[in-house]
Structures are given as structure tokens and as C-alpha cells.
Symmetry: C2
Amino acid sequence: MILQLDLESETPIYMQIKQQIMEGIALRSLVPGEPLPSVRSLAADLGINMHTVNKAYKLLKQDGYILIHRQKGVVVHPDGVPPADAEFLQGLQGDLRPLITEAVCRGMEKEQFIKKCKDIFAQFERERGNE
Amino acid sequence: MILQLDLESETPIYMQIKQQIMEGIALRSLVPGEPLPSVRSLAADLGINMHTVNKAYKLLKQDGYILIHRQKGVVVHPDGVPPADAEFLQGLQGDLRPLITEAVCRGMEKEQFIKKCKDIFAQFERERGNE
DNA sequence: GTATCTGTTATACATTTAATATAACAGATA
DNA sequence: TATCTGTTATATTAAATGTATAACAGATAC
């Protein structure tokens, strides 16, 4: 589990941590039940504060990505990530709409946009196939 | 040009203004050359501060969506919005990746995700057809 | 010519968010 | 007992957000 932080990014550090752990799960480089470093050790490795890592873990826990075992510590949720429900789909639509709005304004064809999405999906499928 | 602000949203007001004007352009309810309200009058209509509107206009101007005529005031850019360039495509990919990451984690099928995108594109096409 | 409206800029202030720092607590482990 | 765990509390700094007031130069209307 090697995280790459961009301290110059406008994306908050805790959000970068959350997203990269989610990427690890999507790529299956992080599998259900796999232990994650403690908030203190990860913070030390990244050279940041403990609370920043804790905030990322807290959100991941709320979303069902990880589980806190009093014995095993922090682990990727053994039951897998909760499936896409209505709430998630609504949030996804709210996130997609401004992206598509701008694409439409700039005269981007629907097929071109769809291809971009497919390319990203393909990246996940390709890297997942290598394991 | 009627804007609906959600003061409870975590999305900043200036960003809501920017996005809704972009939506107006995408839907062609705002056409090239069409005048927009002044920063002061729009702020008064919305019941917010002038600088909040000014910030939204400033970003829209930077992105090429609007033009500031010393005579005509603020207008939708007569030449249309600049086309999707490499920089835009790279930014789009950076915005899409975390959305697709989460979708993959939740076991969402690629086709299901693509359909969501197509539905949103269809909304724009449908509403643009009514004019 | 005066008054008004325009976009723009400057300054100041309050609130919220992000990140850090230090500390403490209870449970589990060696 | 000592250490590590997640968790919580409090305080501080910095940045982002939104507001408030003011001023400037250019254009417009009377």
C-alpha cells in the first residue's frame, strides 16, 4: 500500500487518501479482509498528522469500505463494498451532470465522452486481470 | 435567466452560479451574444453579495464562456465556448476517474454507468430540441 | 456637466474547512 | 507493566468562502 500524496493539489489530503484506498480496492490490489496500516503508522509514513489519516478512515468506514476490528485493527471490509443503491446512483448523477454540461458546451460528442469512460473502465479491467 | 441557489449545499454559491449559467448555455436557453445581468443586479436578485457573483463571472470569463464588453456589458461569448482541448480532456479524465473507481468498487457494470451518462446527454438533446 | 451604471479592484471581517499539535482514554497485545 | 490500537477532546494556524464598504475609470442618460 503505497500512497502518493500531492500536497500542492486543491484536493484535501484526507480525500486523496480515501480515493487511493478506493482505487486499491477497485483494482483488487486491496482484497477483502486485508489489513491496512494503523492511523498512526500511515501518518508517520506519509509525514502527515494522525488526524488527517483518521478522517480518511472515518469516511471509508462510513461508506462501508473498511471495518474496524478491535482485534485485527483496520481491514478492507470482508463482505466487500456495499452495492450501488439508489442513494449512490443519485449522487453519481449529481456528480456526472456538471461534467457532461461542460462537455456539451464545448461541443464534445456523446460518443467521445462515452469512449473516455470506457477507457477508464478498461484500465481497471486490465489491471485486475493481471492477478 | 432564473437561478436556483441552495444555501445549504456544500457547493459554494459562486460555483452554483457558474454551473447553472453553463447549463443554460448547454441547453441553449442562453445563446451566444445574449446579455447577462450585471454583477450588482444579479446579486440583488439572488439576495447575495456582489463579490460572490463577480467571482462566478470571473471564472466563466477565464474559461471562455462569457465576454465582457465595455459597452454591451456581460454577454454569452459570441464565438461560442472554446472546444474541448487536451487540457480539458485531461481535467475531465481526472474528474471521471474517482467516480468510476467508486462505481467499480460497488460492482456497477460498465454498461449501467454508460447508460447513466447517455441519459444525461439525452436530457440536453431533448430540451435543446424544443427550441 | 452631472448623475448613474458598468466591471474591477482593494481592504476588512466573520465563518467554515483543512491540517497540525498535544493530550487523554479504554481495549488489546507482548 | 509497557506498548499499540482506535477514538475523542481541545487548541492553533492557514486557507476558502461569503459579506461589507469603498473607490476607480469608462460608458451612458438626462
